[in-house]
């Protein structure tokens, strides 16, 4: 790792959404968990507050020395000892018993032996099933015939975030068997997309990448702000994150751009399950900010962002729910 490059400037701490939240002060901060602690022999007993990070990559973007803080933190998480947080324990139990982090509510499986697989991810199958159906019909209207396989399991990303690497690896092996039947994998969750590309080596496409260059329209009225997902902008591609705005604008949606639009919603990195109070406090502050801007609601491209901001009473739509082909 490259922690030795730290110049102690504090840029990582100034941008951290957890440290900057009133309920985030127990978090030791990105410099401690991403730079200092990983270099100590006693790191494994750092304590559970070190998990109080949404893995939003803001610290990594801010670091003038190019330190890969997120990577260091993930390694630290895999080395930590002691009991898991209750929410993380539940996640491990769920994956061990049925292969997904949350119970599956979705029932619209499509298993026709198509060459394309739409992979909605655990939240898309367990919490935001409406979003999944919208993306599926959008793909159909774009003449992309696809399966939604009941055999595809959690991508493993949430397990990597809580340091359960063995379980994540097991999921990867089982998923790769399913993926081997397809030529193309389309996702609607940036976290899944990142995991499939980085860990599986599969060129999975986020739905924004599928939509780019297509003639699209929208019937959405009013002014809408964006919630730019962390793992889309700072994980996959900042260009794809810019496409979120340009696709919506091209489809005729009135998009209000805000400097804070790419700030974390508080839902990632195992925060939602591990520290629900802090997670919703971060979301609440974002919702307050959107409300002050007087927008109709927020458009995003991540089931976690939809879920976490939605829980605080914000009207949140996924890009897959607001646009359709023009023909």
């Amino acid at each position: 790792m490259n922690e030795g490059r730290c110049v102690k400037c504090g840029s990582c701490m100034r941008v951290c959404p957890v440290l900057n939240d009133p309920l985030g002060e127990r978090f030791p901060g990105p410099r401690t968990t991403g730079v200092d602690a990983p270099r100590f022999l006693e790191r494994e007993s750092i304590g559970r507050n070190a998990l109080m990070c949404t893995m939003c990559h803001a610290c990594e973007w801010a670091c003038p020395s190019g330190i890969t803080l997120t990577r260091s933190m993930l390694k630290l998480r895999s080395e930590m000892i002691g009991e898991r947080l209750p929410g993380h324990r539940k996640m491990v139990e769920n994956v061990s018993s049925f292969g997904r982090t949350v119970s599956t509510e979705f029932s619209g499986w499509v298993e026709n032996g198509e060459r394309t697989l739409y992979f909605p991810g655990c939240i898309g199958l367990g919490r935001s099933t409406g979003l999944t159906l919208s993306v599926s019909s959008l793909l159909t209207s774009l003449e992309i015939k696809h399966d939604i396989s009941s055999q595809a399991l959690c991508c493993g990303s949430p397990l990597v975030k809580i340091g359960a690497l063995d379980l994540a690896d097991d999921l990867r092996r089982r998923n790769l068997e399913v993926f081997s039947r397809y030529d193309r994998v389309i996702t609607s969750c940036p976290g899944c997309t990142y995991q499939l590309r980085e860990v599986y080596g599969i060129e999975a496409e986020h739905v924004i990448e599928v939509l780019k260059g297509t003639d699209l329209g929208s019937r959405l009225e009013g002014r809408w702000a964006l919630q730019v997902p962390c793992h889309l902008k700072r994980g996959l591609s900042p260009w794809t994150a810019e496409d979120l705005a340009s696709i919506l604008e091209g489809a005729g949606v009135s998009v209000v751009r805000m400097p804070e639009e790419d700030g974390c919603c508080g839902g990632g990195g195992g925060m939602l399950s591990g520290f629900p109070g802090t997670s919703s406090s971060i979301a609440r502050n974002k919702v307050d900010m959107y409300r002050r801007a007087g927008v109709e609601g927020v458009i995003t491209a991540c089931p976690f962002c939809s879920l976490n901001l939605g829980r605080e009473g914000m009207k949140v739509l996924d890009i897959g729910e607001v646009i359709a082909p023009k023909h």
């Binding site: 840029s11 900057n20 009133p22 410099r31 401690t32 670091c63 020395s65 190019g66 591609s237 502050n285």
Partner: protein, 349 residues
Amino acid sequence: MSHALVVGKGAAGTFSSWLLAKRGWEVTLVGRGTPSTALSTGCLRSVPNLCRAAISEFLNNESMPWASGEREGISRIGTSYRCWMSPAHSTWKQGETPKSIAVVGLDGHPSLLPRVASALLNGRKIRAAPFTLAGQVPSEVPLASSFRKDEAWEDLAEELQKMSVETILIPSLVTLQDYHRLDQLEGRCGRDVLEAITPLGSPGQRLADLMLSKAGEAGVTIWDGRKVTALDVKDDVVVGATVVGGMDARHLSVDAVILATGGPLVDGLVLKEREVSDPFGKFRVVRSAAPLTGGYDSLEGMLVNTEGRAMVNVAGAGDCLSSGSREYGSGLTEALESAYRAVRALEGT
């Protein structure tokens, strides 16, 4: 329209992008990580000799008014700070030292040390008294995050009203968007509000944010969070660049390049032990035994290739250039002046 690529989003990169865009170039600005501009005090210490009017226009904005001339302020530990240009609430006109100052810090937070600062000010015959406000912000947590909401400012104003002094020195608390809160605070508490001079805090970040937004307003395409990993060179001319962001990469065709990648940190010049080298492997670097003086070699504003010939369309600006001597605290002004020279050199081609 000619397309320029500017690498680096600190003072030198943003100012040269802004100048090029004003002169009709199509500009793409690529930068990653917090630039040293954002780690500075956010004030210009030395007077620019070259392009004062352009700098004033570049920094002019509605959110944060500036004061220039012979200015003086107080650091977070109470030492004197002199500069040529600062945000209006950071300094006073030299010779108009406040009669009495209340130094207000937050309990246990290192952003402003009331007792130390007051003692130093008293030692300089400036009447000052320390005040510590109750607070529970851990020292690692940036103070600005506790002052986002109106209520926090109401509470602060109420506390400050009680103080019978002319001027109140507070820690740096505000972002660029929130700068107007200092005027409001002054109105509410009826005292002059002075912000402590602080490096590594919000004043530097405000300056960096302002410069980037001015470049954006001038029409510069900003590719933030991305890095130029390779430059294509044909016959001493750079014709293209590879830009990487996240897991993605793009190729860009360019007519001119300004490298403003800063001092020898990771994304700029490569630092190995005491040697600096060019990460692109294309340009000559002057190595120096003195600290902070090594960097890219240049001939009449253009970088020099490894064979010693001046490049046709590549200029350098800011800290990545080698410099004969560097005066303490002159970095920002030097960066802006060298950006101006880089643009002039390119326009000559």
